[in-house]
């Protein structure tokens, strides 16, 4: 039997625009690629296919099958390293001599008024915590906080003119992940799995590796599906013996018994199928049990790092206490994309993460020590395996930090200007795009709003962000809402 319905299949009443009839459907399908994608989904699921014979054995394939986007993609998969809490651009990626010169003074009046979270606008300016140096052939300036990443600057496309819409964590976490400061829209990873499907039918299309210390502020909706089909949402994966929810057989049940029970379930289901009734769900369910059983053996295999060479383990810092945890998740991310997962999001920083309202020095020293080596290792490893050309790596948090101080040694949230970087599939490395003003308060040149960054990411994955739509409540929803412009200079 060729039915195989795995990680995602829209049921007869998916949350999406379910057609009342095929004609009705095709009429509406003119509206956007999303609907065409859905058409193929439903078609594969046999839901659109009028099965004249009623035979349940007509060929159907995976609804989240690997699919082609609008145009040839430059990146086939994504690793999004999310720096939860908001890392400081002026201390890591955006050197500001003026900030050193004006240190200890209030920001000049000429900068006007701006929103802050904690009323820090009139506080004195705080100079960068570490010196910056030029690296690589490109001479990109990076702070001494990041000695390992500095070796890879020629692979990075640094965006120094990023900006968002809110001074609060959850709104900014939602904006960066879902394109809206409000709760409940589909996340970037969900859009990618909706548009692209998965390359590996034994694994989900979108996997999230949260920080074991806690979720980002705003929680699970950051990897939610919103109005997209529920199966597009991020699947949480952990290290250890129980990487996925309910992956392991119940305690007290032997492996042999588990296989026997699954076989018995499938035999009874097939018996029902043989009764000749038209029952399209039944085939899908049998396939789901087969897949579930394969996952029980496959997923632990993917996350089993024992087979990695000592050299690789060192590359990610698995041999050092300070880097071992985050390094493990970076290595997992590589194994997952290698195994065909489309979108992996790795969170760095617990619920507070990079949120240095006070003692920035301690906060950023600790988090850079945890993440710098593993991230450099990830880039190096991807490159060595020939994966970097087709894997887009994104680094960034929900916002940056203010040039002035909070208390004596902290910095408040800054959505008005901050840095992110992209590397890998389709990205032109060794370049710095955009700039903030003299002190790093606001994006000033070649500004890139979060919508623009999303448009660019979708472009690299082969999508026109204006055509990747999903009809919800009569509106063709997009990740980029009504905005977004592809940043052309990012592209290689």
């Amino acid at each position: 039997m060729s039915i195989d319905t795995g990680w995602s299949c829209l049921g007869p009443s998916g949350t999406g625009p379910r057609p009342a009839s095929r004609r009705d459907f095709l009429r509406r399908a003119g509206g956007g690629f999303g609907l065409l994608a859905l058409a193929s989904l439903l078609d594969r699921d046999g839901l659109l296919a009028a099965d004249a014979t009623g035979s349940p054995s007509s060929p159907r394939t995976q609804p989240l099958d690997s699919r082609s986007p609008h145009f040839t993609p430059r990146a086939r998969r994504v690793i999004f390293l999310f720096m939860s809490g908001g890392p400081s651009h002026v201390d890591l990626f955006d050197p500001k001599p003026e900030l050193i010169r004006l240190a200890g003074q209030p920001i000049p009046e000429s900068f006007g008024t701006f929103k802050t979270r904690r009323n820090v606008a009139r506080n004195h300016l705080l100079p960068p915590l570490r010196p910056f140096h030029a690296h690589g052939q490109s001479g990109m300036e990076v702070s001494d906080f990041l000695p390992h990443l500095a070796e890879h600057v020629d692979d990075l496309c640094l965006l120094r003119g990023c900006h968002g819409d809110s001074v609060t964590h959850p709104e900014s976490v939602y904006l960066m992940n879902t394109g809206s400061i409000l709760m409940g829209r589909g996340s970037l990873g969900a859009w990618a799995s909706y548009g692209l499907g998965t390359e590996n039918q034994n694994l989900p299309a979108f996997v999230v590796l949260p920080d074991p210390g806690g979720w980002p502020k705003g929680g699970a909706p950051a990897w939610g599906h919103g109005f997209l089909p529920a199966t597009c949402q991020g699947t949480l994966l952990r290290g250890g013996d129980s990487p996925m929810l309910d992956l392991n057989r119940p305690p007290g049940v032997s492996a042999e018994q588990q296989r026997a029970t699954v076989d018995f379930v499938n035999a009874l289901n097939r018996e029902h199928l043989r009764s000749g009734e038209f029952n399209p769900e039944l085939g899908a369910r049998i396939a789901a049990y087969e897949l579930a059983f394969r996952m029980q053996s496959h997923a632990p295999e993917v996350i089993d790092l024992a087979r990695e060479s000592p050299a690789t383990r060192r590359l990610y810092g698995l041999d050092r206490q300070v880097t071992a945890e985050f390094g493990t998740r970076c290595l997992l991310a590589r194994r997952l994309v290698e195994a065909g997962v489309r979108f992996v999001q790795v969170y760095c920083g617990d619920t507070h993460g990079w949120d240095g309202h006070s003692r920035m020095e301690e906060n950023h020293s600790r988090l850079c020590a945890q993440s710098d080596l593993p991230i450099a290792g990830l880039l190096k490893d991807l490159k060595a395996r020939g994966l970097l050309d087709s894997t887009l790596v994104i680094w960034g948090g929900e916002f940056g930090r203010m040039p002035m101080s909070e208390g004596s040694d902290g910095r408040d949230h800054n959505p008005h200007g901050f840095s992110m970087w992209l590397a890998g599939g389709g990205v032109k490395g060794g370049q710095t795009l955009g700039a903030t003003d003299a002190v790093g308060l606001r994006a000033a040149e070649d500004k890139a709003h979060v919508h623009d960054i999303h448009a660019t990411i979708l472009h690299l994955l082969g999508f026109d962000h204006e055509r990747l739509t999903f009809r919800h409540n009569s509106r063709d929803e997009r990740l980029t809402d009504v905005a977004g412009k592809v940043i052309g200079r990012v592209l290689a």
């Binding site: 009705d24 409000l182 409940g184 089909p229 996925m244 929810l245 049990y289 579930a292």
Partner: protein, 781 residues
């Protein structure tokens, strides 16, 4: 009516013509109405008619007019059509369905078997499986009226409300936390859930149900249920610590406007917030005119709702308490005053400047916005007892402890019940403006409360009613604007309200509505498959005093509902999508029904009703990393029905989530019904499934004497039918091999019983676990 038409033109013109000009005409019209000067009135009418005409003849301005869209016209008075096969129909629904089948040359599916019927109806109305006894009794009851008695029994069950409230809670984006960063608990939100359950169980007329949710506080301020109903508008996500209280209030107003339009009217209004709706005849003016009904409302997160009796008892108790505690309290107050002031000042400093100003303004001088801001930021101003204690010197702390001990000894009445609700502030309401691109920094023309022009054109505008019914309603519109909105929506004249609700009822009995886009009856929504039936049902609903239970009974007693889900190959060829309802749709159980079934079948369902949400265990590592799940210590809570599980925005209950439970941030008119590997993993491996399997196994051993009867009981409990001979054989083999394996590896805590059959308890548990994983369990035929 003449005047109302003028009003319509005025509203329509306002949407398209220079606002200033319309305003002048409007003022004159109001003046004329006020002094009842017919000449002026007529002149204004003429002017406005011209404006209206201009609007109609200038299609490039504003949104397109679609007055003839079917859903905006009152349901037609229709009779059931004539059909060739006169023996099939049981009630007036059937000829409508049969006629379209006959027109396509199709015959209905055969009737469902009795065991299919009782399973279908019991899940449909209660969300639970029939017990083995109920099933057997019905299957063997061949007397006439047995099926009708079954439906009556189910409709009278208190579990009915729990089932149908769930459908409503999906629509109203119900959750018990705020979402965003802190996802703080809303300790009174559950009262809304219980209100909905109670309303369905009492068969509250739907028009009353609508009125309560829109304006219960205005219309029945002394009825706790009606006041609680207005929490409808506050159930969405809310960023309590927003840096921007104006934007925060606007978010709630937008959410209330959108959800009201979508749930009650099936209108997708949200697009009109930023621009005239591209596809619907709804303008931005329509949007903000609708929003203006909500402008005077203060969003109360904690409002006392005592009955008169509770209040009186509480007052007496408090009086006694005050007398008894007066002296101690005075000393305590003096001791704490300085510390409290300090904490208050600290809290105040953390608020945005707007919010700070609102708190510092004396209560009687606050504007409505400020009142709202104060109510909404109140949680941020609070400090806990221990925070207060920590701020004190060691000596004062000790003194305080002694005083508190003394206070504790004075008997105190229980706190009054609280709810979330809307409450109007007296005085002039804040003004509502059209906001360019929905941005409050760009207000344009001012809007007064009003209904969408395209619908008000049906003579339903509040002003029109007001004028025809005199000054009483005019006063009402001024002081109780939501009452005017509620009356308009719940009016028998409103072309959408009854249609939208009967369609939802139909949707849940057939898996698809007559309109397949249940919250979108606009021009982009689906066209009804059976428009005459929809109109007939809508009128019948009104004629039967908006009784939801009457509609259930009507639908469930039809031959259409009682069809088998099995279709002939000819039917499948000609009606592949079942648009003709030429058979019943086979449907997957919702997550709640799956979990509740596991509990019921294994004999562990705790049928306790109502009260604050409960927290059954979730996988430990998920609880750890989300940091937001505190498992209920009372084990009895772990087996409550799923509707009572604490609905957290930032952490959906995993078992329900995997079966497509909606995220509670947007109104969800129709759930997904996917088939996925994670569902298989949940039913195979989760604690919920395994515990149910083991408990069900014990039940089999206890309730049936032989292997054969145990197998039969297992099938009846889990699948609602007896096993076939073929299945008997397969089960026998499975039990034998599983017993062999389990005697090699004994399951923990399970006593191996060779008993009469040589089948171990672990093997029975494996059988139950396998049955839970069958398609036939998670689907209803």
């Amino acid at each position: 009516m003449e005047e109302s038409r003028v009003r319509v033109h005025a509203r329509f013109a306002r949407a398209r013509i220079a606002p200033g000009m319309v305003r002048v005409i409007q003022l004159r019209l109001e003046f004329a109405l006020a002094v009842k000067r017919p000449q002026t009135l007529r002149r204004c009418q003429a002017l406005l008619a011209v404006c209206g005409l201009m609007a109609l003849t200038s299609p490039c301005l504003g949104a397109p007019m679609a007055p003839s869209h079917w859903a905006f016209v009152a349901p037609a008075r229709v009779e059931p059509p004539a059909v060739r096969d006169t023996s099939w129909s049981r009630n007036p629904i059937d000829p409508f369905i049969l006629a379209s089948m006959e027109a396509s040359g199709l015959a209905p599916a055969t009737a469902a078997t009795r065991e299919q019927l009782i399973r279908r109806a019991t899940f449909g109305l209660l969300g639970l499986p029939p017990t083995a006894e109920e099933r057997d009794a019905f299957v063997h009851d061949r007397s006439s009226g047995a099926y009708e008695r079954l439906i009556d029994r189910l409709l009278a069950s208190p579990h009915y409300g729990e089932r149908w409230a769930r459908h409503w809670l999906d629509l109203v984006r119900y959750a018990e936390t705020d979402g965003f960063e802190h996802d703080a608990l809303r300790p009174h939100a559950w009262r809304f859930r219980d209100y909905v359950i109670k309303s369905f169980n009492e068969d509250k007329p739907y028009d009353r149900f609508v009125r309560e949710q829109i304006a219960g506080d205005e219309m029945w301020p002394h009825e706790p249920d009606a006041v609680t109903a207005t929490a409808f508008h506050l159930l969405g996500p809310d960023m309590v610590d927003s840096a921007d209280p104006v934007q925060r209030r606007l978010n709630t107003l937008n959410d209330a406007t959108d959800t009201t339009a979508s749930v009650f009217l099936g209108l997708t209004f949200g697009c009109a917030r930023c621009h005239h709706h591209k596809f619907e005849p709804l303008t931005q003016q329509d949007y903000f005119a609708m929003q203006a009904f909500f402008a005077p409302a203060v969003f109360q997160r904690e409002m006392p709702i005592p009955t008169a009796f509770e209040q009186a008892a509480h007052d007496r108790g408090m009086e006694r308490y005050r007398t008894g505690a007066a002296a101690t309290q005075k000393s305590l107050h003096e001791l704490e005053a300085a510390y409290r002031d300090k904490l208050h000042a600290e809290r105040l400093a953390r608020l945005s400047p707007d919010a700070r100003l609102a708190h510092q303004t004396p209560k009687e001088k606050r504007t409505t916005e400020q009142e709202g801001t104060v109510a909404e930021t109140a949680p941020m101003m609070r400090f806990t007892d221990s925070e207060l204690a920590r701020s004190m010197s060691v000596e004062d702390q000790a003194r305080r402890t002694r005083l508190l001990e003394a206070l504790k000894k004075v008997p105190k009445p229980l706190p009054l019940p609280m709810t979330m609700a809307l409450q109007n502030k007296s005085g002039p309401p804040p003004r509502t403006f059209v906001l360019a691109r929905g941005d409050f920094n760009h207000p344009e023309e001012e809007m007064r409360p009003g209904f969408p022009a395209v619908l008000a054109g049906r003579g339903l505008e509040p002003a029109a009613q007001a004028e025809s019914q005199g000054s009483r309603i005019q006063r009402l519109a001024a002081h109780q604007p939501r009452t005017a909105l509620a009356h308009w929506i719940a009016s028998t004249e409103n072309p959408l309200t009854a249609r939208v609700m009967v369609n939802r009822i139909w949707q849940h009995h057939f898996g698809r509505g007559l309109v397949s886009t249940p919250s979108d009856f606009g021009t982009r929504g689906a066209v009804p498959t059976h428009p005459e039936l929809l109109d007939w049902l809508a009128r019948e609903f009104v004629a039967r005093a908006w009784s939801v239970k009457a509609m259930h009974k009507l639908i469930l007693l039809s031959s259409t509902y009682q069809q088998s889900s099995h279709a002939s190959s000819e039917t499948l060829a000609r009606d592949p999508d079942n648009r003709l309802f030429s058979r019943q749709n086979r449907r997957r159980l919702e997550g709640e029904a799956v979990r509740d079934s596991l509990l019921a079948i294994s004999g562990r369902l705790n049928r306790h009703k109502g009260g604050p949400g409960v927290s059954p265990p979730i996988p430990a590592d998920l609880a750890r990393s989300s940091k937001s799940w505190t498992t209920s210590t009372d084990l009895a809570h772990h087996t409550r029905r799923s509707i009572y599980i604490l609905a957290r925005r930032n952490l959906r209950f995993p078992f329900l989530e995997v079966f497509d439970a909606p995220d509670s941030n947007l109104s969800c008119p129709e759930r997904g019904s996917s088939t996925t590997a994670p569902q298989a993993l949940t039913l195979l491996n989760s604690d919920e499934a395994m515990e149910a399997a083991r408990a069900a196994a014990r039940r089999l051993l206890h309730e049936a004497p032989t292997a054969e009867t145990r197998v039969a009981l297992a099938f009846r409990l889990v699948l609602g039918r007896r096993p076939t001979a073929q299945e008997q054989g397969m089960v026998g083999d499975f039990l034998k091999s599983s017993s062999r394996r389990s005697s090699e590896v004994p399951a923990p805590n399970s006593e191996i019983r060779a008993a009469d059959s040589g089948v171990t308890e672990a093997a029975w548990a494996e059988l139950c676990r396998a049955l839970f994983n069958l398609n036939a369990f998670v689907y209803v035929d």
